[in-house]
Amino acid sequence: MTLTGPKPAARVKRTAEGRPAVPHRRLRRMSAADRVVVTLMVVVPTLFVLLLVVLPALVSVLLSFTRWEGIGGLDTIQWIGLTNYKNIFTIYPPFYPALQHNLIWLVFLFLGPTLLGIVLAVLLDKEVRGSRFYQTALYLPVVLSLALTGFIWQLMYSRDQGLINAVTGWQIDWYGDPRYNLWAVLVATGWQHTGYIMLLYLAGLKSVDPALREAAAVDGASEVSTFFRVILPVMRPINLVVLVVTVINSLRAFDLVWVVNKGRNGLEIIAALVTQNVIGEASRIGFGSALATIMLLISSVFVVIYLNATMREPK
C-alpha cells in the first residue's frame, strides 16, 4: 500500500535502499502505468477479502454484545454487554460437548488421516509399480462433497440396510447412536482427508530438486536420513499447507454433521451450534454471534501460530 502513499517515488526508493539484499524486487524502475497496474492487482483482490470476509467477521464480533431478533431494523438492536457469553458458558448445555467434539476432530485428523496421507505420499513417491492406480484410488473420495460423503457412508452405516450390520449381524444405528456417531462421521471425514493430504504432499515431494537426493545418495546417506535431513526441510512450505488444511478441515467440520442430523445428539460441533441459533426456529442473532466469535477466537489462535511460522521464513 506504500504505492498509494502521498509520495510514492520517494517512499519506494527508501524501501529499495533499505533492502539492498534483494535487488531483483525493487520498485525503483517502475513507470507510472506499471504502478497503476500493480496497485490494481493488489487492491481488487484485497477489497474482495476485506468486504466479504474481514468486515463480516468484525460485525459478528460487534453483534455478539447485543440482543437482536433480526426482524426489525438496526435500531432494535440492544447492547447487553457480555451476557451472551455468560449464558454460553453457564446455561447452554451443548457448548462444552461441541468444544470437545471439535477438539477430538482435530486430534483425530492429525494423528490419523494426516499422518497416513504423508506416509502414503512418501511411499508413493518412490518408484512403486501401480503408483498411479493407488493415487487415483486415494484421491477419488476427495473430489466428492462432504454432503455426498454422508450419503455414501449411509449405505455402510444404516441400521436396517447398511453393509456393516448386514455383515456383522449387529443392530447399531451408526449415525444415530451418540456413543458411535462421532466416530462414524470421523471415519467418513478421514476417508476424504487422507487422499487430499497425500496429493498435496506428493506434489511437494515431486517438486523437490532430484539433484538434492542424488547428492545425498552420493554422500552415502540412507533413505530415512535423506528424508528427514534433506527432503523435509525443503518441504517447509508444503508442511505448512498440510498443517493449515488439517486445521481448516476440523474447524469447518459442518456439512457432514448437518446432513446427518443437523449437529445434535452426540454430533454437536460449534459450527452447527452457530447455524442452529441463526436459522433455527428461534433466531437468536446476538447469541449466535457470540458463538461465532468464540469460533473466530479459536481459529485466530491457529492463524497466529501459522503466521508466525511464515514470517520467520527467510526472505
Binding site: 519506494v12 524501501t15 524486487r25 459478528s60 462433497s145 455414501i152 449405505l155 456439512d255 473466530l296 501459522y306
Partner: protein, 308 residues
C-alpha cells in the same frame, strides 16, 4: 528438465526424472510388504464408492427380498428415475453457472495478488499475505449473519438476478465463493512464484517489458502447473460447496447439485438403490474433471522442479 529425462521411461512412471539405480529393483520382501499394504489401502478406499455403484445398478425389489449383501437383480432404471426425480438437468446447470465464473475469477485475482506479493518488496507485503491467509482460515458460519444481511440489502439490476438483490442470486454466490477461495490460491501461487528464478525478470526488465507483460507472458505461463492443480481443486471445492448455497439461495430453484442433495434425502432415503444412483450422478462431474486434468496435473507437478 527434458534433457535429463531418460529415453526408456517405464509406462507406469509419470515422466518423472529418475535416479539411477532406482529402477528395476529386485523384488525384496520389503517391497512385497509395501505393495500389499498399498493394495490394501487402495481397495479399502475404493470400496465405499464401488459399493454405491454396485447397488445403484440393482433393482429395489431384488435387494429388498435378498438383502444388500447379495448378487443379482441388475438394472439401469435407478439412474433414469433418479435423474428425473432429482431434476438433475436443472441443478447441474445451476452448478455450472456458479462454479465456472467463481473458479476463473478466483484464479485470476489470486494470480494478480500472488504476482505482486512474490515479485516486489513493499512494506505491507507480508501483512497482506497474512491477511489473505487469515481470511481463508475463518469458518464461514461465523460470517453468516453479516453476509446474509448485507446481501439482502445490496440491490442488483434485473438482468443480473431476478431476485433484485445479491441474496438469492448466482452472482452473490460467485462473489462469496471467490472471496473465500482467493486466500488459499494466493498463498499457494505466491509460494510457487517465489521459486521462479529472479534472473528471468531481470532480463525482461532490461528488454523494457511492462509489469503487465511480465505477468501475462512470463509468470503465468510458468505457473501453469500450479494453476492447473488449483483449478482442479477449486472446481471440486466450489461445486461441492454446501453451506453458502444452502443459506444464500433459499429458493430451491437456484440450488446447485450439492445443496439440492439434502432436498432429495426425504424421497430417496427409503430406496437405497435410488439413493446410490443419485449419489453416483452427483459424484460424476468432479470425478470427470479430475481424470481429464490428471495428466496435466502429474506432468505439471514434476515440472515444479525446473528452475530454468
Amino acid at each position: 528438465m527434458t534433457t535429463t529425462a531418460r529415453p526408456a521411461v517405464s509406462s507406469s512412471a509419470a515422466a518423472q526424472p529418475e535416479l539411477p539405480g532406482l529402477r528395476h529393483r529386485p523384488l525384496t520382501p520389503a517391497r512385497v510388504v509395501l505393495q500389499v499394504f498399498l493394495i490394501g489401502v487402495a481397495l479399502s478406499w475404493l470400496f465405499p464408492l464401488l459399493w454405491a455403484l454396485f447397488n445403484s445398478l440393482r433393482d429395489y425389489a431384488y435387494t429388498s427380498t435378498h438383502g444388500y449383501a447379495s448378487f443379482g437383480g441388475f438394472t439401469l432404471k435407478n439412474y433414469a428415475e433418479a435423474w428425473q426425480r432429482g431434476n438433475f438437468t436443472h441443478t447441474f446447470l445451476n452448478s455450472v453457472y456458479i462454479t465456472v465464473p467463481a473458479v476463473l475469477l478466483t484464479l485470476f485475482l489470486a494470480s494478480c495478488m500472488a504476482f505482486v506479493l512474490a515479485r516486489f518488496s513493499f512494506r505491507l507485503n507480508l501483512s497482506l499475505l497474512g491477511l489473505f491467509v487469515a481470511a481463508n482460515l475463518l469458518p464461514p458460519q461465523a460470517l453468516l449473519i453479516p453476509v446474509y444481511r448485507a446481501f439482502r440489502a445490496v440491490p442488483v439490476p434485473e438482468w443480473v438476478s431476478d431476485s433484485g438483490t445479491l441474496l438469492n442470486s448466482y452472482l452473490g454466490l460467485v462473489l462469496i465463493n471467490t472471496a473465500f477461495q482467493v486466500g488459499f490460491c494466493t498463498f499457494v501461487l505466491s509460494n510457487y512464484m517465489k521459486t521462479l528464478p529472479p534472473e528471468l525478470y531481470e532480463s525482461a526488465q532490461v528488454d523494457g517489458a511492462s509489469v503487465l507483460r511480465q505477468f501475462w507472458q512470463l509468470t503465468l505461463p510458468l505457473c501453469r502447473p500450479a494453476l492447473a492443480a488449483l483449478a482442479t481443486l477449486e472446481v471440486t471445492w466450489i461445486y461441492n460447496e454446501f453451506f453458502w448455497a444452502t443459506v444464500l439461495l433459499q429458493s430451491g430453484e437456484k440450488f446447485p447439485v450439492t445443496s439440492s442433495l439434502n432436498n432429495l434425502k426425504g424421497q430417496f432415503f427409503v430406496d437405497y438403490n435410488l439413493l446410490s444412483a443419485g449419489s453416483m450422478l452427483v459424484a460424476l462431474p468432479p470425478i470427470i474433471v479430475f481424470f481429464v486434468l490428471q495428466r496435466q496435473f502429474v506432468s505439471g507437478l514434476t515440472l515444479g522442479a525446473t528452475k530454468g
